[in-house]
């Protein structure tokens, strides 16, 4: 098992609330990613980072934001949650080389009521 941790595991929250999904890895990986996945569906890249102070938006338009102040930490924030944000959010990391396998956390399942 890879050492990448996501908290909380499950989150139910009301519309309009601000939330932060945590992701930490202990492998010293430079690259980190956030994917969004509806149950049983494909993964969509929403944010990625190639290193500290580097963040980019992915393919799927997202109202979330990310930060990368420390190598091991890549939190995702929703300023105002909406029911359309209900989904599973998966964090992943990989080493410095390009195209190497990703290590995934177990995800945060978010429900916005």
């Amino acid at each position: 098992e890879a050492d990448i941790y996501q908290t909380p595991r499950y989150l139910v929250i009301g519309t309009g609330k601000k939330i932060t999904l945590e992701c930490s890895q202990t492998m010293g990986h430079d690259k980190m990613y956030w994917y969004q996945q509806d149950p049983g569906m494909e993964l969509h890249l929403i944010h990625y980072s190639y290193g500290v102070n580097s963040t980019e938006k992915g393919d799927l338009s997202s109202e979330s934001t990310v930060s990368r102040i420390r190598t091991e930490h890549f939190p995702l924030t929703l300023e105002s949650a909406r029911p359309s944000h209900t989904s599973q959010y998966l964090c992943a990391s990989s080493g410095a080389a390009w195209g190497v396998p990703l290590h995934f956390g177990n995800g945060t399942r978010l429900t916005v009521t």
Binding site: Q6, Y33, Y35, G40, M41, E42, L43, L45, Y48, E56, G58, D59, L90, A92, W98, G99, V100, P101, L102, H103, F104, G105, N106, G107, R109
Partner: protein, 112 residues
């Protein structure tokens, strides 16, 4: 549209049978990777095949790659109930940003 699309979307077999899943992609790749996802969990990397490779084995897994057809297949031999999961292909390309693009997945059910 997705870089990788998988076929079939769902597959149900008996224990001991072989399971074959296919993945097609659109643009040229550096490598193609297969991942497994148990229900409600993250993805776990299974195998990586580079664009200059045609076949690769890992235990009961066999992956083939045909770059002329832009397709790959994953074969699981002698399946077990514990193989029940979703399987995704993911491509690494040189176009634009370097992040894996995942297919739509095949949901495999192995009946004991």
């Amino acid at each position: 549209s997705q870089q990788g699309e998988e076929d079939p979307q769902a597959l149900s077999i008996q224990e001991g049978e072989n399971a074959t899943m296919n993945c097609s992609y659109k643009t040229s790749i550096n490598n193609l990777q297969w991942y497994r996802q148990n229900s409600g969990r993250g993805l776990v990397h299974l195998i990586l095949i580079r664009s200059n490779e045609r076949e690769k084995h890992s235990g009961r897994l066999r992956v083939t790659l045909d770059t002329s057809k832009k397709s790959s297949s994953l074969l699981i031999t002698a399946s077990r109930a514990a193989d029940t999961a979703s399987y995704f292909c993911a491509t690494d390309t040189d176009t634009g940003r370097r992040a894996l693009t995942f297919g739509s997945g095949t949901r495999l059910q192995v009946q004991p």
